[in-house]
Amino acid sequence: MNTQLKNIKFICNDSDVEINIHPGTTVLDFIRNTLRLTGTKEGCREGDCGACTILIGELINNRLIYSSANSCLLPMGHMNGKHLVTIEGLNLKKTLNPVQQAFVDEGGTQCGFCTPGFIISLTGYLLNANNYILSDAVNSLDGNICRCTGHIGIKRAVEKILQNFQYANNNETEKILLLIENNFLPEYFKNILNRLKEISLSLKEEFKATEKSKYIVSGGTDLFVQKWDDIINSDIVLINKSKEKLITEVDGKFFIMGEATVSDLINSEIIKSIFPDIKNYFNLFGSLPIRNRATVAGNIVNASPIGDITCFLLALNATVHLSNESLKRTVPLKDFFKGYKSLDKAPDELIESVSFEITSEKFLFNFEKVSRRTYLDIASVNSSVYLEILNGEIKEIHLSAGGVAPIPLYLKKTRNFLLNKKPEVDIIIDGAAILNEEISPISDARGSAEYKRLLLRQLFYAHFLKLFPEIINAEELL
């Protein structure tokens, strides 16, 4: 039995906590079992219900930033120096806060099991957003499932809250004060910034990998779903976000650090400037609390055939930068996957970063994902395409697809076929036929093999219909 205990210091709601604990203990278990704060619920232990949602406040460049997370997938090791907020930490003494009151008034709660998670997520939004927009506020609840209300009363509650409270400012400190003034937060939030600064001074050295390390945990959104019961008995290493720039560009060459999260991608000005639709693509990835934690490296190393980030990066013909104690090397992402969950990577190698190059000014890009439920679901099939057109012909194309093979697929044959051809209906139909030969989907909970074949064809068509609306006629194609 492993006894890898770590000293961890943080603030939970209004209380300072210092404890020696296995860093892989989930925050959910710790708050429910040790602190006996039972407002946070366990509904699934796989990040899919949101009943366990909590807020994490952390110092980033001396600013106090809050984000939501699924406490069932969150290791205690990550709480060092942070502010953990549970539903109990939002309660005012005698009255309900306006979020709570709106849920009561509008029928946003029935059995109540999911409710604390919703209240937490929405409070997270109020803390985070620079100005309040109804659709964004509703989207911030995309990780919370309610089986009783059908979410209709919940949406009404959100609407009412925003009707009664508006604010536009990006200064966190002012925002917190205003939220306190309007009873959304208890008084103690005033002092958290300073208290965290104080704690950060005394923080111990972070965890380092040793030969004994069995698990390397980054966001934990894969590992804790699969292995939570083993992790707490094993030696683990936690990868912490470096404080350096996570996403950079030098002369058309882009670098994304392995520990960048999906939220980091969506919010990156650099990424937004080249992929204006990035938010639309990746809002289909998990839920907000998952996106806040799920990392790029984790997505690649997990090697799931439907990894969305991997699909995206494959169509950028990205390169993986690996390193261990002694060596640094690079591998093209399309050669990184050897077979089902088998990688060109030694156990002690870490993904430091991923890079890709964009040489053409006028490239075209598209990402498609279809799943049974549009949001918070794993793709049945996903696909990305990168295109450069010169004189009406396809000068360069990278095409990827997920869910249609044991690995995330780079569609080499289809690419070679399309190269130097015109994007026209006949060519695309022939391309779809080649595509169909290149894949080998299997039937599972996400669809039959037959469906996945058909769906990929449709998504392949969707790329061209979207990118060449003047040239390609839907009726001819279908």
Binding site: G43, D48, G112, G153, D229, Y375, I434
Partner: protein, 764 residues
């Protein structure tokens, strides 16, 4: 009016079972279950598991002191299998350890040797093999054989609907404590405290008065904790009884999903006959219900299917046969609607198919055949206070039906990749347990000397707001502040021999019993004070807003003073009272009777937008006119309607229970079994309360609300079907639910793939 449950929920202060402070020395249990769908147990080896760290004991069938039997309707289900297993996930042993993880780990070390038997998963195959739960049943009216001859069109077909996972957010859970005198106390997350009590007594070979079951609240039930909370509670009790220590059993989500039954999948054959003017003359249907491996509540559910064969329509000649088929899946169980939705899906499918053939819109047939006052249901009851047409017409007016139709048609003409479709969905749902004897309830009311009131009934709070409604009833009858009234936990020592909180009837039955109890006490209080005030005519005395009025003028007696006075005069401030729904009966020999106290009616309009390139859809708009009676609490009732609607839509669209060829559930997590989320929810949902609906059979003229609105969801299936047909007129809609994105895409393109196979046509 403060709803205490809601108040606590939003603060995270409501205590669900797993939130209770564990008693000292509590042990934790995990379940070892069958890895195969059908087979004989040859040997089990607990040796290694027993040596696993933290393990205290492993209990199996031979440790049961009483009868190893948990079947409620039919005694055909063991608590722990010892000889034969009938489905994957069937409990075999209970591992008890110092922590859940240790128990779980040890359960993985149990070695079992089984001899496989051939399993059956398909209900029709079970039927062919004569593998039935009960003999088939038939409800009949008129003479279908004669009627076919008068029909201008006869259509035959098949309609299938899938299972549905309850996905109550709180998983099954129980905590049992040994008590002195060989007694046991169980806190259970159950809708049926009495079933837990009765079954525990049977398993432990003790008397029912040695078992106390207590329920505070459930994190959702939806029928999934009506019969199927029992096994876990009894296992915890068995553990506590044997270990002489408290035992807690909380199922992890994937165990819960694997081990418990779901809504019954049905496969049905129908034959429908109409005249040229769209009158349905005859309808014949055979329902093959996939019951799973044991009876559970299947016979009762099958019966309700038969009761709802014709939904909101009057059909003069009907023959409906129900067959409960035994298969090697977890026993399927109650789920909101209780067999009703499955029946309604078939009649709606039959109408859809008939409309297709006749080249009319389904709503034309629907409208023509709606129930009128006095029409007879196939089981002999007549429609009373019938609001089928009223809700239909009111809805059409509300949505400006003619204009809506044109708008949708225009939209579809202008858009080639997005198509809209809509459907109208009327519902008619009978209220009462169809097993007449279950329509009884009792209530116990105490008024304490400080004037506060405590109420115990059989109603279990699981989100449907029954606690708050009961508080309203008592507060209104006593005319005191709601704050003075508190609902106690549901407990078998205070409420005995109770029916489950089910069939949408908890507020009706318990509310009426509560009304009776309150009136008894009120009567005593008034009689007593009348003597004091020397008033002969009791009608001159009235309590209003916490004050006793004499001839409508306030007296010195506040509620508190009045209670004190009653107490000092040695008059009882407690009462227990009883209610049994009057006037209902059902004769199972002839399948006729007045089975229901009343019916609930309503009509929904459902619109969808379909992305015909990707096969994905969104339910965009739902408008409903629903008959709530005189709603006791509009916020609660509207919430029930909304939640049920979305659950029904989920059942018809994205929720799909999939077992593999070995009978193993592959949708056993929330990542593979998808329920509606916030984005699924239509942007526009409008629930209108039908005006001027009175219902003397309901508490304060209200109507039951829990189940009926679920069936609006069936319209979602046909709305999507119509959108598909707007894209490709000749698509064959196979009437197999759910209508998943996969189903949609394949319907849209299966033909075109045949014509244009996905093969290389030209070499380049």
């Amino acid at each position: 009016m403060k709803n205490y449950d809601s108040y606590q929920h939003v603060r995270g202060e409501s205590l669900f079972l797993d939130d209770l402070t564990s008693p000292e020395g509590v042990l934790h249990a995990a379940i070892f279950s069958s890895p195969i769908a059908h087979g004989l147990i040859k040997t089990i080896d607990f040796h290694e598991a027993l040596n696993s760290s933290g393990v205290i004991a492993i209990l199996s069938a031979k440790d049961i002191p009483g009868e190893n039997q948990i079947g409620g309707i039919i005694p055909d289900e063991v608590l722990l299998a010892s000889e034969k297993v009938d489905y994957i996930g069937q409990p075999i042993a209970l591992v008890i350890a110092d922590s859940y993880l240790n128990a779980k780990k040890a359960s993985n070390k149990i070695k079992i040797n089984l001899e496989k038997l051939p399993p059956i998963f398909d209900p029709r195959e079970a039927f062919r093999n004569n593998s039935l739960i009960i003999p088939s049943r038939t409800f009949e009216i008129g003479d279908v054989e004669r009627a076919w001859k008068s029909c201008d069109l006869i259509i035959e077909g098949t309609a299938d609907s899938g299972g549905q996972e309850h996905l109550y957010l709180e998983t099954q859970a129980a905590l049992a404590y040994p008590q002195e005198g060989n007694k046991i106390k169980i806190i259970s997350s159950t809708q049926s405290p009495t079933a837990v009590q009765r079954t525990t007594a049977r398993i432990l070979a003790i008397k029912m008065n040695q078992v106390e079951v207590d329920v505070t609240r459930l994190g959702g039930g939806f029928g999934g904790k009506e019969d199927q909370a029992t096994a876990w509670a009894v296992m915890a009790a068995l553990g506590a009884y044997k270990m002489k220590a408290p035992v807690k059993l909380v199922l992890k989500r994937n165990d819960d999903m694997r081990m418990t039954g779901k809504r019954h999948p049905y496969s049905s054959d129908f034959k429908i006959g109409l005249t040229n003017d769209l009158k349905i003359l005859a309808y014949e249907v055979t329902f093959y219900q996939n019951a799973g491996a044991a009876a559970d509540l299947s016979p009762a559910i099958l019966e309700r299917t038969l009761f709802h064969t014709t939904n909101s329509y009057f059909i003069p000649n009907v023959k409906a046969t129900g067959i409960s088929c035994k298969t090697n899946l977890p026993p399927n169980t109650a789920f909101r609607g209780f067999g009703g939705p499955q029946a309604m899906f078939v009649i709606e499918s039959a109408i859809f198919k008939a409309a297709e053939k006749l080249g009319v819109d389904p709503f034309e047939i629907q409208e023509k055949n709606l129930l009128n006052e006095g029409d007879e249901f196939p089981f002999g009851q007549r429609a009373e206070n019938c609001n089928a047409r009223k809700t239909w017409n009111e809805l059409k007016r509300k949505i400006n039906f003619e204009k809506t139709k044109v708008n949708i048609r225009n939209f579809n003409q202008e858009n080639n990749l997005i198509k809209k479709g809509f459907a109208l969905m009327p519902i008619c749902f009978g209220i009462s347990f169809t097993n007449t004897l279950m329509n009884q309830a009792n209530a116990l009311v105490h008024i304490y000397t400080d004037g506060s009131v405590g109420i115990s009934t059989a109603a279990v709070e699981m989100g449907q707001g029954v606690n708050h409604k009961l508080r309203q009833v008592a507060a209104e009858l006593f005319s005191i502040d709601l704050e003075k009234v508190s609902i106690e936990s549901t407990n078998t020592t205070r409420s005995a021999n109770t029916s489950p909180t089910a069939a949408s009837s908890a507020a009706d039955l318990n509310g009426k019993a509560l009304e009776n109890a309150c009136r008894i006490i009120l009567d005593r209080i008034i009689t007593n004070i009348a003597r004091e005030l020397k008033v002969d005519d009791l009608k001159r005395l009235l309590i209003k807003k916490n004050i006793l009025l004499l001839d409508n003028k306030p007296t010195e007696f506040t509620w508190e003073k009045l209670i004190q006075k009653t107490y000092t005069d040695r008059v009882s401030l407690s009462a227990q009272a009883y209610y049994a729904t009057p006037g209902i009966y059902f004769n199972r020999n002839i399948n006729k009777g007045k089975a229901f106290a009343y019916h609930v009616y309503g009509t929904a309009f459902i619109e969808t937008a379909l992305d015909c390139l990707r096969g994905i859809y969104k339910i965009t708009d739902v408008k409903i006119v629903h008959d709530f009676g005189k709603s006791l609490n509009p916020v609660i009732d509207k919430g029930q309607a909304e939640g049920a609607l979305i659950q029904g839509l989920g059942w018809m669209t994205i929720e799909e229970v999939i077992y593999d060829e070995r009978g193993k559930l592959i949708t056993d997590t929330l990542s593979t079994y998808k329920v509606p989320d916030l984005h699924f929810t239509p942007d526009k949902v409008e629930i209108n309360f039908l005006e001027d609906s009175e219902n003397p059979m309901g508490i304060f003229n209200s109507k039951a609300i829990g189940e009926p609105p679920l069936m609006y969801g069936i319209g979602g299936y046909f709305a999507i079907a119509n959108a598909i047909k707007a894209f490709k007129q000749d698509t064959n809609i196979d009437c197999k639910a759910p209508m998943t994105p996969e189903k949609v895409l394949i319907s849209l393109y299966s033909e075109s793939i045949k014509q244009k196979p996905l093969k290389i046509t030209k070499e380049s």
